[in-house]
Amino acid sequence: MTETAWTPDQPIISIRDVHKSFGALEVLKGVTFDVMKGEVICIIGPSGSGKSTLIRCINALNDIQAGSITVEGLEVHAPKLDKLALRKKVGMVFQQYNLFPHKTALENVMMAPLKVLKEPKADVEARARALIRKVRLDGKEDSYPGELSGGQQQRVAIARSLAMRPDVMLFDEVTAALDPETVKEVLVTIKELAAEGMTCILVTHEMGFAREIADHIYFTDRGVIVEHGPPKTFFTEARDPRTREFLSQIL
């Protein structure tokens, strides 16, 4: 039994004492936290602190050595994980967009519902067009990724993820590779998504943005969560010297 009954009053994501190593290098050394439905979580911390690895573990792109992660009661690292069920629940957006370069923006958005979920084409297309409008890319439906700016590609990538109707969205440093002038358009899209009640976990270096949209901020360093709290207190009342040092360098 890998799936236990889940009700919305329980954490949608539950991470318990997760350990993850790459060979001899231990990247996560016992991470524990819960995410409630509709919450927006930002994970911040210096590079190499394991933030990206952590969210990649949530949708099983990375395996873990010990601990457990459940998404809506589904045990993510169970040996007989139903990967399709997990990936329908969890959408992910990457730093490098990773759009499929041989497909147009519209086709990128349509592909997974069409080929994986085998939904009817008319429905999928209507939904995809609506999503492209939602990320404010009307008129770019037939453009190839190579013809779009980084910010536009990243918004297509968000729409592509949303087309699977996930319950949780993971954002892995999605603005880190963008030109400064296009960062904002992507952040606006994420903000709208959060306002609609989507559960979001973001790994980010945009402190102003984290402060603005996060319900809760986690600070990781060397594979552990050093400190966490709501943004109001987190940025002003950090207690741990490591957090303070990081914040003083960044803010």
Binding site: F22, G23, L25, V27, S47, G48, S52, T53, R56, N59, L61, N62, K83, L84, R87, K88, V90, G91, M92, F94, Q96, N98, L99, F100, P101, H102, M111, A112, K115, V116, L117, G146, A157, R160, S161, M164
Partner: protein, 299 residues
């Protein structure tokens, strides 16, 4: 820096290697491109066949001017035989290269996909077969197939004769298969791993990812090296003359015998062979390099 996540079959064989202790690979720079032959050929000026032709034609005049049999007679002999050499000889070379390419490509694509299989025994076997046929002398492979293959196949009462040129096709298909296999493997591995991860996060299965996302991106990249191998193969088809297949070099030899083996004939006849191969492969090489440049810009 996050260590790259291996994609089973595609990057897995390297797992565990320490970066500093990787064995020296003499062939590594070659693999990135694999178009050395076409690049060299395409870079030749188009005047080369004209110069070659002039040299071949002038040879009897220069070398044997003192004899009774001179340039005029040698060229007349070539002219008499030329239609036969082209329609019976060179046409068979093209036919062999065509069938070899069809069989070699079909088998090579399958072998190449096995090379990136998630199942280690399949992957290792495919790798071994690829390396075996890629690094064996073509002529040895040809001799083995020629001598080991029956000259006729019996199915019930039906007797299907296997002509020599058909056996040559099978022999030449082996190294072509192995090289196409490497092209397929290399092209799949050249796709950034982010593509696999994005597909995986969208719930695509491995097979769906490979066929719908990775291979369509590889297709264009595979065309130039594939054409490169076609040109190399076509140039190699005269090898089968050593096995008695009546292609252009065999027929040229027979034609010279019919002309009393005059030594003045050697250079015009073989020179003509060189020119016709060049004339056939040169445009292919030029096109290969043009496609290579075109696809390189797009990527």
């Amino acid at each position: 820096m996050r260590p790259a996540r291996p994609i089973p079959g595609v990057t897995a064989p390297r797992q565990g290697d320490l970066p500093v202790l990787l064995p020296f690979r003499a062939s590594a720079p070659d693999r990135a491109d694999g178009l050395r032959f076409s690049r060299w050929l395409a870079d030749l000026p188009a005047a080369v066949p004209v110069v070659l032709g002039a040299l071949a034609a002038a040879w009897p005049a220069v070398a044997y001017a003192q004899g009774g049999y001179g340039m005029t007679q040698a060229l007349e002999a070539l002219w008499r035989w030329l239609p036969f050499l082209v329609t019976s000889g060179f046409a068979l070379n093209i036919l062999i290269s065509f069938f070899t390419m069809v069989i070699g490509t079909a088998a090579g694509v399958i072998l190449g996909l096995w090379q990136i299989s998630v199942h280690k025994p399949v992957r290792n076997t495919a790798w071994f077969v690829t390396q075996l046929f890629r690094n064996s002398p073509w002529l040895v492979l040809l001799f083995i197939v020629m001598l080991a293959f029956p000259f006729e196949i019996r199915i019930g009462d039906q007797v299907i004769p296997v002509p020599d040129w058909m056996k040559a096709v099978i022999g030449l298909s082996l190294p072509i298969m192995a090289n196409i296999s490497e092209i397929v493997r290399g092209a799949v591995q050249s796709v950034p791993s982010g593509q696999w991860e994005a597909a995986e996060s969208l719930a695509f299965s491995r097979a769906q990812t490979l066929w719908q996302i990775i291979l369509p991106q590889c297709f264009k990249r595979m065309i130039p090296p594939w054409m490169n191998w076609y040109a190399i193969l076509t140039m190699a088809t005269p090898l089968v003359s050593l096995l008695g297949v009546e292609e252009i070099v065999t027929l040229s030899r027979q034609a010279m015998e019919a002309e009393n083996n005059m030594p003045e004939l050697l250079v015009p006849f073989y020179g003509f062979c060189l020119i016709i191969f060049f004339a056939y492969c040169y445009p292919i090489a030029r096109l290969t390099m043009r496609l290579e440049r075109k696809f390189a810009v797009k990527q």
